[in-house]
Amino acid sequence: MTRRNCEAPPRLAERLLAAVLGSGDWAESILGDLHEEYAARAAVASHRAAIWYYLVALSLIGRTLLLRARVARTPSVHVGPTPPRGDSLMRTLGLETRHAWRSIATRPVLSATIVITVGLGLGANAAVFSMIDALVLRPYTLRDVDRVALLFYDRPNNIDRQDSVSAADFIDIKRQSDVFERLSVFEWWTANLVGIDEPENVLGFKVSADFFATLGVEPAIGRGFRAEEETVGRDQRVVLGQALWQRRFGGDPGIIGRAIEIDGAPHEVVGVMPGGFDFPMGAQLWAPQAFTPDQATNRRSTFLTVIGRLADGKSLDDATAQMKVIGERLTREHPDTNRDRVMQVYTLAQGMGDMGAGPILAMWQASAAFVLLIACANVASLLLARGVERQREMAVRVAMGASRVRVVRELLIESGLLSLAAIPAALAVAWASLKLIVAYMPPTIARFVAGWNEMDVDPRLIAFTSALAIVTALVFGLVPAIQASRPRLTETLKEGGRSATAGAARLRLRRGLVIAEIALALPLLVAAGLSVITVHRFLNGPQGFNPDGVLTMRLMLPEVKYPTEESRTQFASAAVDRLLAMPGVTAAAAANVIPAITSNWGRNFEIDGQPIANPLDRPDVDYRVVTDGHFDALGIPLIQGRGFTAGDRADTQPVAIVSQAMARRYWPDKEPIGARIRFSEGEPWLTVVGVCGDVIHNWFARRNYPTAYRPFAQGPTRGMALVVRTTGDPNALAGPSRAAVRSVDSAQPVYEVASMRENVKIRTVGLQYVGGVMFAFGGLALVLAVIGIYGVMAYMVTQRTHEIGVRMALGATRRDVIRLTVRQTVSITAIGVAVGTTLAILLGRLIEAGLFGLTSTDPRLVAGLAILLALVALSAGYLPARRAATLDPSQALRQS
């Protein structure tokens, strides 16, 4: 039998098990057996094998401890592997563990309540941890991923902080640096794949020849790119992604060497990448990056992402230092283009990670921690109540000579066992939440989120949850344990614990805990409310255009087939005409960019009569090239002047329409109509003929941003979006619209065919996640707090049954009794809400930051939720009060 021996089991689990088993032949043979079995399983699926190892190790640890306990109790019988002779601490611990189990088992309902409460709290934390682990800590599963670095320009004055690198700069950097073993680039490539079935748009990248080697991966079949293929004319080669190869070419290995048609030209397939490799951003097609002579000397146009593998012995700091030197040199030599570019080196996770994800996940983890704290307060409260019941037991034990340390230790072991028992529940909660989170994400977005598909219950998550469970046990168990170990000996033994004052300290503690629960729950509720309101506003609030009844799609005309501006304009007008001919269509248009899609296009401009010498200093606006139906199709109002007409052609006067925000900012007290603007020296001056309404292009970075529009015919682009407005259901037009485009050019694929409503929804999907998760946390906090309040109030009433009986016998009315008990609830709730409101306002600031400053803490929201929480808390306290009031005084007196 050949078993792989390179795979070692999870170190943490193995060490724990080894520590429990001790030394000797038995320990060695057991650890060896598990290692052997692990290796066999890991050869099939290493992920599962690790989970298996953890489970087996945990069960063996549990069994060994239990057996030892039995040995300790009846030392004359030899049972189990290597009993720890002479190891009295271990033996005592084992004995105490057994005691604790028994004590837990005698109160199954209480124990189950605690396990579920802790399980929910731990589960929430585990789910968030798993997301942080997959998305922020380890989003890439490449070989030696920490040796891979990205280069960007940092532009302090730019909104998009990281900027790509120009081809000429890259060539210089590559020549001058020695800290990288390999240095390559990649560039976004929207590839149109033709042939076999319907033409299709595929996400591809143009990459350097040693791109794959930089990442440490090799094609599964065929080869990667050769250096000579980085030249124009020899660059028509592609490597396919596994998924594309399977889906489109049926996994046929004969594809190697064959030519497929992409962007109107044949490309030879030279290789297929292994399954799971889709770097970057879900790529399925790679082609060599060949610079034209123009590009190779151009420093202005920045379109390359530089990625490198550090040379042996060089650190990220070395790379940062060297790039700084090279960057400064480039700035000195080419001040006009490189003036405010600062070269920065990032790790892959930093460079490719979503900048917004960190703060949001931190906010979630903080909220999950709040939920766990509330759960702890609840459990502590339950344990305090249990401590009262066990007063006699504790008193007897202390009287018999047990030390307080020992009693506390045993109670802590009980807490620890309860907490450990909650781990499977927590993992189940985490697993279910992750499934839900993954399922809700539209695949169009998921592919851009590195590590998204890596979120799962894995050994790291189990280790994290276990560690957290132990800390949690200390948090909820320590105070009740200390309380319970301090019985009033003589009183308790004599009386059987009737005195009402004996529980006073505990009751005070429990009231404190409930106050804490309310105080923690309120901020979570406010956070949930804020998030939900924000999401609602984004989805349904004003967008500046009318998203209802609109269908959108995108396409990219291949350069080879549409080399001239006329050909592009012709395509656009033909496509718009065909779309307009469909029944139910009231307007249709083509544009380079439409609101609510992933891309944007900004350009610097200058106003006639206000020259700015350096192009870098010119202000930038969002740049739109649209056909004349654009404003009608999207429902963007025209405020002043005229719209575009069919008469605005390439050979007529160049014109522009500006948005209201642009008019206000650049012509604050003047009439914009008639003014002239220009986008660069070589281009004509455009006369402003109209002012239109502002649009929310993107809720996060581009709200009502100054925007300039030009007629499509005066600046046609290859990449464009088509919009269709209909009186009916826009989704019903998807098929006919595709057919309409095909009837213009049968080889032209369209992609992202979706209704505008859907686009808006997809653009805010991250925010919907924030809202959904915060809502879940808020709900969980509310439920836990209510259970806590009810528990304490019900308990208090039971404790005071005797007192209530006496009062009623002496003439107190039901109303008096209710008032007496409700008063307690009122004071607890009032203090809790007061503290909670303060916390909520503080947390609100954090949420505002997490939600990109899109929302502010509305005092009405805080007040409303505080009232809601107070009402819920009061009703939770009212139920036990009513029960107290219906007590029959004679029975109440007898009962106690």
Binding site: R4, E28, D33, P81
Partner: protein
Amino acid sequence: MAYNAGTMNLGEFEHVVLLAILRLGDDAYAIPIREEIEERTGRAVARGALYTALDRLESKKCLRSRMSQPLPERGGRSRRYFTVTQAGLSALRASRRSLLSLWHGVEGRLES
């Protein structure tokens, strides 16, 4: 306490474990023993239970064990190989005898 092989009672699981070791011959260490039992009886065997039974059988002198050379596929650890001792064989025989005599005359009733 000295065990008399003739009168010693084997638990059912101990019985199964001894038989599995006999069947395996020279290759009897915990992993194949467990596989053999699971394959033959069709029921899952907890690792902890197996180790406990092996330890108990060894202390009853029904089993003898030896450690192999350290093996790389086990992270440099040894295997513990078991052989059934004379006492173990006697215990099995006695156990079989008592079971057979109990079975005697009742087979027919279980067949339907």
